[in-house]
């Protein structure tokens, strides 16, 4: 069975438009979170990681007309085009698939102020995905996954299964979400937003921050198609459902524990083999507590764990992809990145939160995510030795 290898990747965020810029910012403890006092997306000031619109349009001009595409589509197109530059993968080939992950896509178009004559179909996720497909002149119908906050992680698992089954030789997986009044007002009504930069797993944590961005991973079965240096494969992954509540995280972490166990089995390794765990860590009281219970039950208490939400906020359908790229980059840079916002442990499950940047050899890394609808996902990246 062909192994799904990572050919190249990109992160587009307030911390930069390339993976290197992003990783360098994170390594230096720089956060994209800031108080947004005059954003049209909220009636009141809020803390979030937002991409500068002028900067985005300026960068987009190098590859296309920024007025022809929505903000969401621009994130996807720009991130994918950056990722493709670093690989030999031919996006125009029938053997290359496109998989888009998002929670809300072009939802800002529901607001008359943002409509700008894009046409009534553009609100549909399949239509937005077709815009991306047409831009790159790819011959396949794009696959669209919208599975709440596990969308990005699940998209990588799904794409790797398409490579394994031989359906595609290459697959471009991109996840994006923008911050809109729609999303901000909803999270406000859930009283889920923290006033200040979030504090994953900390005893003073009191909610999440929202962020926007896009992450892209190009997967291939061709060892020679990608970045120079060590080859990293998606070794396995699985999803699960809590079957407990549609918005409240499970009180026991049983669902996430199940996804972790299945992903280990799928990758053919055990919990003790995992050198690094890139968790969801939204910094809400119940999510982080649930994760800590799942990690300790799954045998990951000693595994160094971090959350990147203190750098990016919660980027929803992009989070799983952005954080997967950061995981892969941590593996190649041999660096465990500290959890921004964390000082004192405030969860009851025993976990080993990374508090200082630390050099480490990472052979196997795990990425997890959990979301509304009770869904959980876990996936494993492994270095090919």
């Amino acid at each position: 069975m062909p192994a799904p290898l990572i050919a190249s990747h990109n992160i587009l965020s307030p911390l930069g438009f390339s993976t290197d810029e992003n990783f360098s910012a994170v390594r230096n403890g720089k956060s994209g979170l800031a108080l947004q006092a005059s954003s049209p997306t909220s009636n009141t000031p809020f803390c979030a990681a937002l991409i500068n619109t002028d900067k985005l349009d300026m960068a987009f001009q190098a590859i296309g007309n920024p007025n022809k595409y929505t903000r969401f589509e621009k994130l996807l197109i720009l991130s994918i085009s950056h990722a493709l530059k670093d690989s030999e993968v031919d996006i125009r080939s029938g053997q290359t698939g496109i998989l888009i992950s998002t929670t809300k896509g072009n939802i800002d178009l529901l607001d008359a102020e943002n409509y700008h004559g894009f046409g009534e179909n553009r609100i549909h996720l399949w239509e937005a995905a077709q815009q991306v497909q047409a831009f790159f002149e790819n011959p396949n119908v794009p696959i669209v996954l919208s599975n709440a906050c596990i969308s990005g992680a699940l998209a990588v698992i799904m794409a790797s299964d398409y490579i394994r089954s031989g359906r595609y030789n290459n697959i471009v997986v991109a996840g994006a979400d923008i911050i809109s009044k729609f999303v901000v007002s909803g999270f406000q009504s859930f009283l889920a937003l923290a006033e200040n930069p979030c504090q994953p797993y900390d005893k003073n944590r009191n909610g999440l921050n929202l962020g926007e961005g896009c992450g892209t991973i190009v997967l291939t079965n061709n060892k020679k198609a990608g970045l120079d240096g060590e080859l990293i494969a998606v070794a396995g992954g699985a999803s699960s459902n809590d079957a407990n509540h549609i918005s409240g995280p499970s009180r026991t972490g049983a669902g996430l524990t199940l996804a972790i166990g299945k992903s280990l089995k799928n990758a053919g390794i055990s919990a003790g083999d995992v050198n690094y765990l890139c968790a969801h860590g939204t910094a809400t009281i119940f999510n982080d507590e649930m994760e800590s219970l799942a990690f300790s039950t799954a045998g990951l208490s000693a595994t160094p764990v971090n959350s990147f939400k203190g750098y990016y906020g919660h980027t929803l359908g992009a989070a799983g992809l952005i954080e997967s790229v950061l995981t892969v980059k941590s593996m190649t840079e041999k660096l465990l990145v500290k959890t921004a916002g964390y000082t004192d442990c405030g969860v009851s499950g025993k976990i080993n939160v990374i508090t200082e940047n630390t050099q480490a050899n990472i052979h196997h890394a795990m990425k997890t995510a959990s979301g509304f609808g009770g869904c959980n996902a876990a996936l494993i990246f492994s270095k090919l030795s």
């Binding site: 009636n43 929670t103 809300k104 896509g105 939802i107 529901l110 607001d111 609100i123 549909h124 996720l125 399949w126 239509e127 995905a129 119908v141 696959i143 669209v144 996954l145 919208s146 599975n147 709440a148 596990i150 699940l154 799904m158 299964d161 398409y162 394994r164 089954s165 359906r167 009044k181 729609f182 007002s185 909803g186 406000q188 009504s189 859930f190 699985a238 999803s239 699960s240 459902n241 809590d242 079957a243 407990n244 509540h245 549609i246 918005s247 049983a254 669902g255 199940l258 299945k262 799928n266 979301g371 509304f372 609808g373 009770g374 869904c375």
Partner: protein, 208 residues
């Protein structure tokens, strides 16, 4: 080619009618979706008070799953059951309601119980809660019913040993229009109902 998997049951809800394996179980003429789905709930004796808190998409998917699984084997292990759904309109039916609640600054009251349904995978969560399914989840969006996409993804789940049975299909609703077509896929060497993309497609097209 027999792949050892079969479509053990299928359910269709559309045009004010619900059918199990091609046989009508309930119809109500000249009714809105709201009237129809409530009448279906009463007629089929679902007895699940949380049903009335659901949005239209979840009510539709929940009802279709209830009918689909009414004769299912009691011994199925929830851990090994996957739920893979697709639709065209994601959660737009409820998205529009949330947008209305925030459009006017003078009457700005976003509702948490509306917002929670502004994700197309919540219906999967509702089905999983009712039936204690804790296996794989995926919610796909496509322009129209795409049997190849559903088939390929489901086959990957079976081939990787991630599921031993799978509830798959289409659950779509927007602006009063609705259509649900669910299939329960199990391991079984039944040639007449072998799990194939073409068979999904023909059941979808013929049971309308």
């Amino acid at each position: 080619m027999n792949n050892g998997l079969c479509i053990s049951a299928h359910c269709r809800i559309k045009d004010n009618s619900a059918a199990l394996n091609g046989e009508t179980v309930f119809t109500l003429e000249e009714a809105s979706f709201t009237q129809f789905i409530k009448a279906l709930y009463r007629d089929q004796k679902f007895e699940y008070s949380k049903f009335f808190k659901m949005d239209n998409l979840s009510k539709l998917g929940f009802a279709a799953a209830e009918i689909l699984l009414s004769n299912a084997d009691d011994k199925i292990m929830g851990e090994e059951v996957g739920v893979v759904l697709a639709n065209a309109n994601a959660s737009l039916d409820t998205d529009v309601k949330h947008q209305e609640s925030i459009a006017d600054a003078k009457n700005y009251f976003p509702s948490p119980s509306v917002f929670v349904y502004t994700l197309p995978n919540i219906v999967i969560g509702e089905i999983c809660i009712k039936h204690k399914f804790t296996g794989e989840n995926a919610c796909l969006i496509s322009k129209s019913f795409d049997s190849d996409q559903l088939f390929e993804y489901t086959m990957n789940l079976f081939n990787n040993g991630k599921v031993s049975s799978c509830l798959i299909g289409w659950v779509d609703c927007y602006l009063g229009e609705y259509d649900a077509a669910l299939f329960f896929i199990t391991r079984n060497n039944d040639k007449k109902s072998n799990f194939e993309s073409e068979r999904l497609k023909s059941i979808y097209q013929n049971c309308s």
